[in-house]
Symmetry: C2
Subunit: 406 residues, 2 copies
């Protein structure tokens, strides 16, 4: 057992320091992937890692790997990874915390003259947000073989600029082959982006996986007619049907312990005094278990048939199966939290992260820390110095313990 | 008692003939008020009325009065009035039927050499639809003193043309003073624009009045958060609240025998995987009784408070009290329907009509005939030759009986 202690003030200062790259007047950060601001923070990261004795390599899609040698030259590294890009109206913590905590750990080890058996590696994955180039988690996806490199390079932003041109422009197309350097395991520290830890007053979430999620379009056809001359019992009101289905899908989600969200709704040719004839809305269903998600979808289809017959149609547009993180990594995280004096609970991530794709090629798990009001993708995104410190300490403990055991 | 019979084929042919003014390839009519098409049908109307022995006068807002003299030079006329303008995607019956039935009645009287005691008058009211110049029922409103003439003239269409310029352009600004010629009563024949008569298989509706109606904007504030990381029981979903309120307001309407419609709904910054933080929607409440409408509004406010507390706000934007038509006119309509061999029931209009404003200055009532599927403001708007004939015959019977009695 080690006695190493993260320097919370130093970590906090590095969060504030990097927030200047793309910082906005409202306290947020706008640092779109492969932009000038992204180049600046990448240069900062490279310089910082090199001063900590790392060799920094970059692959063809801009993923950055900073490796601190271990005592066993044959051993695969343990990775600490997340991302430095942000949403257009992003904050100072989403992704960034996980990378800066990695650098803080290397600094702590250096200050103590601590040598690990396995090399340690801090990774900055390119375009996690998907805000400039769709889809999200593109860099980690290419590394893990989910996406082709050429597919990534062909992605186009809103201004018509390709990923290939953008990475050339900031000079971050590297030579390291895709899929290298290999590593034994990855730990990712991230803000929760949800309210659970804060409301239940836990310091740490040991993230056991990522929920399965499915996206649908749901259309209801009614009969457009005059709001003044059509009695209630002679109506076929598409919006009333849609309202019923919104509430029914949420009841189904509650019954199964999952989630259902309608975030978009529109009436075709809306008019204040016309009964809606057609409503289109989104439906987002999630559950940590694939089979239960399938059962939720079946319940939704049955409810639609019961309430609307053939007038309601559900069309699936995206399907992402559940992800289950590595048991060994999770044990190290739970133990690491306990050693840090942090209260912790297991939690399932509702959002996607680089760890989703990395878990296909290496043992992986995540650590969540609370964030204020569950808010993220927002300039007001916030976590306290203490929360960040406990997260980084848990990460340090987990990485060292896992690296020695495996 | 008379033996006069409407010529249903002749009425039907005049409906088809005038549908050419602004006729559209889909069988509809686009005849916006004070347009070139409106001028053409106005010229047709004037010519037709003059061949039937009428003197045609026009007031400053283009209302047209075709008067057929009676035997009593001192008696005020009985008016038969509606409108010849249509919606942009209008049909062949809305408004038009009431004017053409008036001409058909004059033709029937002329053919029979029938002299009435009171003069008869057929009126074409300007801009009933309100589609080109808001508000609706503008010409009858000016006649009845509800709107100033200068207010009407200052109204502007979507292309920036004022009512005053538009009426000049088609040369239909007349010399007759506003509020003249006066008349003793008005009867308006109109399609129902709703499904009640058709579904209950009645030929005629004796329209006892027009529902009270109120328009509102309803806003619900929730808390925007991530669809994947916010458990169901930690959400403040503005759309779920709105869905509940849509259903609750409709339940309230049913309980009171009124109507509630939400025809517009929008989420602020909608996103498929974000729980809606703010929803704005319309609410249209109607009831034939003013006091009951007030009770409905109170129930809606109580339900909003109960379900959402201060997070839901209801803002009234329009309030139109109930209109009750004249008992004498209604008796003549019911008797007239019976004499025509037409089945009839009393009915309350859900939509506004020129008769609403005219009822403030003269005894007024309306006759409804069924229309297919309750459809109106639509090229597919349809009524049968037989339905139109029974309506016109009822109108003839009512006008003659009322004119002799009063």
């Amino acid at each position: 057992m080690h006695n190493l202690k993260i320097d919370g003030d130093r970590l906090w200062n590095s969060i504030l320091e990097t927030a200047a790259f793309g910082g906005t007047p409202d306290g947020g950060v706008r640092r779109l992937t492969l932009s000038g601001e992204d180049r600046a923070v990448r240069d900062w990261f490279r310089h910082k890692a090199e001063t900590l004795g790392c060799r920094v390599s970059v692959d063809a899609v801009g993923n950055m790997f900073a490796v601190r040698p271990g005592s066993d030259a044959e051993a695969l590294p343990i990775a600490i990874g997340s991302h430095l890009d942000t949403q257009p109206t992003g904050g100072k913590f989403d992704g960034i915390l996980g990378v800066l905590a990695g650098l803080e750990i290397l600094q702590t080890l250096q200050d103590a003259g601590y040598q690990t058996r396995r090399p340690l590696m801090v990774v900055n994955w390119t375009n996690e947000e998907g805000a400039r180039f769709s889809p999200a988690m593109l860099g980690s996806g290419v590394y893990a073989g989910v996406f082709d490199r050429t597919y990534a390079e062909s992605r186009v932003d809103a201004e018509g600029i390709t990923f290939a041109d953008a990475i050339e422009a900031i000079d971050y197309r590297g030579e390291t082959p895709i899929g290298e350097p290999r590593f034994a395991a990855m730990f990712e520290l991230h803000i929760e982006q949800g309210p659970v830890l804060e409301r239940e007053a836990f310091d740490i979430g040991a993230v056991t996986g990522v929920q399965a999620m499915r996206w649908y379009d749901l259309t209801v056809i009614g009969r457009e007619s005059h709001a003044g001359s059509t009695p209630m019992d002679m109506r076929q009101d598409a919006l009333a049907d849609a309202a019923n289905l919104i509430l029914t899908t949420q009841d189904i989600a509650r019954r199964h312990g999952g989630m259902a969200t309608t975030g978009q709704i529109g009436i075709t040719s809306p008019s204040r005094n016309v009964i809606p004839g057609k409503v289109t809305m989104s439906l987002d269903l999630r559950h940590e278990n694939d089979d239960t998600l399938q059962a939720m979808e079946q319940d939704v289809r049955a409810a639609m048939q019961r309430q609307c017959g053939e007038r309601a149609v559900l069309t699936g547009i995206w399907d992402s199966p559940a992800v289950h993180f590595d048991a060994g990594c999770l044990a190290a995280i739970r133990d690491g939290a306990a050693a840090a004096g942090a209260s912790h609970r297991d939690i399932v991530s509702g959002a996607g992260h680089d760890s989703v794709y990395i878990s296909r090629v290496a043992s992986t798990a995540m650590i969540f820390v609370p964030c204020k009001d569950g808010l993220s993708h927002n300039p007001a995104e916030s976590a306290t110095r203490e929360q960040c410190t406990l997260g980084a300490q848990t990460l340090l403990n987990a990485v060292l313990a896992y690296g020695e055991q495996q």
